[in-house]
Amino acid sequence: MSLLDYFKITKANSTATIAKERLQILVAHERSFKNQPSYLPQLQKELLQVIQKYVNVEQDAISVNFEQDEHQETLEVNIVLPEKSR
């Protein structure tokens, strides 16, 4: 094994490589929130209030996701009901 190979191997699992991979995932994830409408947190809060009038759900029982592609924008609302309510 030449010295050069040694450097190549350390490069593949170096901390810089790990840093890059982590950043690529994180940045892609955070960019997907960039175009999100600013009313989302408020919408989520108010929806929760309405639902809590009828069902006893926790704060984190509701999630609101905004997604966007070239053709359409979708708003996905997910509410998880507690076991007992069935």
């Binding site: 170096s14 810089a16 840093a19 890059k20 950043l23 690529q24 994180l26 940045v27 955070e30 960039k34």
Partner: protein, 270 residues
């Protein structure tokens, strides 16, 4: 025509003030009438880096509140007569800045035929940082080859493209440039530090220049001289390259590869 440049990053301590001082001096040395504004209200430091801390009488908040004229507050640099510094207030809180007030100052600078206005942004994404970038034509995004800095820079890019005057008025977007600072080719070689290419892959920005990690930055700040005045230093030369490149000169990138000492030759650093 006045060109407004914001030096920004999101993260603190990456080299914004060092960069603002250096490039403002660089523009002025090339004969362009330049102002550099400290937006870090409450934590002013640009005055120290520029070596004019004892000449500060009025500051940007005094001008906004009508307690002093812009002419009274602008400090003429002692090394270069084309360069003026507008200090931040040390005593007021950061909410003393207003969009209208900053806008008026920038208009007045334009009326006084300033060619470049360099806005040294505070860290964070709050009011000071927002106002520093709001009116910008160009953004110098100062980034260190380190995870938190790269992430914060990406965040800042999102803000530049959505919350600036140019974005709100539907004008041509702010031109964004990457300045990778505190770079250490040795550490990149051994896999300890993100490389220029890595950071560019993630941020996809036009690279204006790489500034090496350099002792000369500290010695320059010790004596209150922007590091670009230290023409023998690597960091000083890197900033001089950046200024020239920004002004349209075609200058190859330096400081990305390791210096070829005996060690470099021995291993034939490729």
């Amino acid at each position: 025509m006045t060109r407004i440049i914001v030096v920004t990053s999101g993260k603190g301590g990456v080299g914004k003030t060092t960069t603002s001082a250096a490039i403002a001096m660089g523009f002025a040395q090339k004969g362009h009438k330049t102002a550099v504004i400290d937006f870090d209200v409450g934590l002013r430091n640009l005055d120290l880096i520029m070596g004019c801390e004892r000449r500060v009488v009025y500051d940007i908040v005094n001008v906004i509140f009508g307690e002093a004229t812009l002419n009274q507050a602008l400090i003429r640099d002692k090394h270069c007569e084309q360069l003026y510094i507008l200090p931040a207030s040390q005593t007021r809180d950061k909410d003393a800045l207003s969009q209208e007030g900053v806008g008026q100052i920038l208009e007045e600078l334009a009326a006084k035929d300033f060619e470049y206005v360099v806005c040294d942004s505070p860290a964070g994404i709050e009011k000071g940082a927002h106002l520093a970038m709001y009116f910008a034509d160009d953004a110098f995004v100062v980034t260190n080859p380190e995870v938190a800095s790269v992430r914060d820079s990406d965040r800042m890019l999102g803000i530049l493209s959505s919350k600036s005057r140019r974005a709100e008025q539907g004008l041509e977007p702010i031109k964004e440039y990457l300045l990778l600072t505190r770079y250490s080719p040795e550490r990149v070689r051994i896999g300890e530090m993100l490389s220029v290419a890595d950071v560019q892959d993630i941020l996809s920005l036009h690279l204006l220049g790489v500034i090496p990690e350099s002792k000369s930055v500290l010695t320059a700040s010790n004596s209150g001289m922007p590091v670009i005045l230290d023409e023998k230093s690597d960091a000083g030369q890197a900033y001089a390259d950046i200024v020239a490149r920004y002004l349209g000169e075609d200058i190859p990138h330096r400081f990305i590869e390791e210096k070829k000492g005996i060690f470099g030759k021995f291993f034939g650093s490729k």
